[in-house]
């Protein structure tokens, strides 16, 4: 594991008008590391991701990106600090074409990712480059959302259920992409319901329940203990 922490979440609390969803969540993700965030529906995973991104305002605690405090900063500040997000539900820009979706996400100063490279990675997008975002199938939208996040050349990627709606073959590709990305030193926090994917790509995992992290361990350790998995996730 890397000593250099790209994401540090400390005692974070957040929620929506009237209800506090997260309570005292702490979590770190190091450079080149992928951490899986698991938990049942409504556990607060998306809320955590969006609070890190600044899309939900933190009520308490701290979020640091690469050492820089971004707690409760607006999303564009967090993004410019080096965070990319593939949000739950994809949220591609419906009235824009595929190409335009990618163009506006392209951050000029970074040379790493280009639109061509994204197309090479996901050729299906090239075929549908002039289609509007709203005209894509679910899986195509997911690819577009990943491509869009990559074009910001982030240091940290937040993936909220990236396999949601993807065909197995594509899930596999996504898994490979994520592995490639961690190889380049990118830090990844991934929320997943597809445990195959989660286990394949990540080094560590954290499990949430009712707004708190109730378990943290390496993936390898976790997979040895079927009993624990059953009690935490209802599987096994």
């Amino acid at each position: 594991m890397n000593a250099h922490q790209l994401l540090e979440v400390e005692d974070l609390a957040a929620g929506y008008a009237g209800s506090r969803v997260l309570d005292g969540v702490s979590l770190t993700v190091g450079s080149g590391e992928a951490v899986a965030l698991l938990g049942r529906n409504g556990a607060g995973k998306t809320t955590l991701i969006e609070t890190v991104m600044g899309m939900v305002t933190a009520m308490d605690g701290h979020v640091r990106i690469d050492g820089k405090d971004v707690t409760a900063k607006p999303p564009h500040v967090v993004s410019q600090a080096g965070v990319g997000i593939v949000p739950q539900g994809r949220r591609v820009f419906a009235p824009l074409t595929v190409e335009e979706n990618l163009e506006i996400a392209l951050r000029k100063r970074s040379g790493d990712w280009t639109i061509e490279r994204v197309y090479d990675l996901m050729p299906r997008l090239r075929e549908r480059r002039t289609n509007l975002g709203s005209q894509l199938s679910g899986g195509e939208q997911q690819m577009l959302a990943i491509g869009r996040a990559l074009l910001g050349s982030p240091k940290l990627m937040l993936l909220d259920e990236p396999s949601d709606g993807l065909a197995p073959k594509v899930v596999e590709q996504v898994g490979e992409i994520i592995l490639d990305l961690t190889d380049t030193g990118m830090a990844i926090l991934i929320v997943e319901q597809n445990l195959h994917l989660a286990f394949t790509v990540s080094d560590r995992l954290a499990i949430m329940r009712k707004g708190e992290i109730v378990h943290e361990s390496s993936v390898v350790d976790f997979r040895r203990d079927e009993q624990l998995a059953h009690s935490l996730l209802g599987v096994g």
């Binding site: 999303p75 564009h76 824009l96 506006i104 951050r107 509007l132 709203s134």
Partner: protein, 294 residues
């Protein structure tokens, strides 16, 4: 038929001129709605501000320099007003509450304008270099109205290129669709919002200034302009540039040829046309392109 055209050339041309100036005003409304998803009911008031810039700056017929200076000032005033409105509106996401806010602002602005410029109608002279007339079928026709047609064309072309062919345009459209997500890819949507709003309002103010020699400047004009602009934008198709253009041309002709042909029903025509268009094409004549998933 040909004779009819001969007899009505001036009226048709006039419809074009009216359409052009209405386009200048309405396109800002459409732009802000189509791109920012805000129905700015203060649009008419901003337009009236532009007209009053003319009142404040022109004495008799303004010189060329004065005229362009006034345009610049109207644009600046409109831009500033739009920026302020954008800032005020940005935390308000509900359409109806936006309407409440912008109409409230419209009432305030209109009242303040009346405070400064008085309740009476003020006329605005035509700039000197456009004050001549040309002969049309043997009757005089004012050059100023021809110039308005030209202004409409120029603005339409420039806007089309900016919105549909540039990255900036794409950002603007994306911001409508999902503001938080645009933020999340690192773009300050507050700035985008302010720029677009400012741009739309600047166009409205310049439109108001250009229209002032025909419509005059007086309290209450803001409501009329707002209604006309709304009708145009909806007839043409919301949020679509081409729609605003077509809508303005249609309304221009309805207001000229229409009222002269069926004079008894002149007052019904505008809204009857609106109802008729919406009946057969609820999405307007040229709606913004969009596609919904299954």
């Amino acid at each position: 038929m040909l004779a009819w055209f001969d007899a009505n050339t001036a009226t048709i041309l006039n419809g074009l001129a009216l359409g052009a100036v209405l386009f200048l005003i309405a396109v800002g409304l459409s732009l802000v709605f189509g791109t920012m998803d805000v129905l700015n009911l203060a649009h008419g008031a901003v337009s009236l501000m532009g007209a009053y810039v003319g009142v404040a700056m022109y004495g008799a017929a303004p010189t060329t320099g004065m005229f362009f200076l006034a345009m610049a000032i109207a644009a600046a005033v409109g831009f500033a007003a739009g920026g302020v409105l954008a800032t005020m509106v940005s935390p308000v996401r509900n359409h109806l509450r936006q309407a409440l806010l912008t109409l409230g602002m419209a009432l305030i602005v209109a009242e303040l304008l009346q405070e400064v410029f008085g309740p009476e109608v003020r006329s605005v002279p035509v700039p000197e270099f456009l004050s001549s007339t040309v002969s049309l079928m043997g009757n005089p026709y004012p050059v100023y109205r021809l110039a308005m047609v030209a202004a409409g064309i120029v603005v339409a072309v420039v806007l089309y290129i900016v919105l549909e062919r540039t990255r900036a345009g794409a950002i603007v459209r994306a911001t409508v669709a999902d503001r938080a997500m645009v933020e999340a890819i690192g773009i300050r949507t507050k700035v985008v919002l302010a720029l677009v709003f400012g741009g739309g309002a600047a166009l409205a103010a310049v439109g108001g200034l250009l229209a002032a020699p025909i419509l005059g400047a007086q309290p209450g004009l803001d409501d009329q302009i707002l209604l006309l602009a709304l009708v145009i934008v909806v007839i043409g198709g919301l949020g679509s540039l081409r729609g605003a253009l077509l809508g303005a041309l249609v309304v221009g002709q309805v207001q000229t040829i229409g009222v002269s042909v069926v004079n008894e029903f002149a007052s019904f025509l505008l809204f009857a046309a609106l109802a008729a268009v919406l009946l057969f094409r609820p999405q307007g004549l040229l709606p913004a392109r969009k596609g919904a998933h299954v």
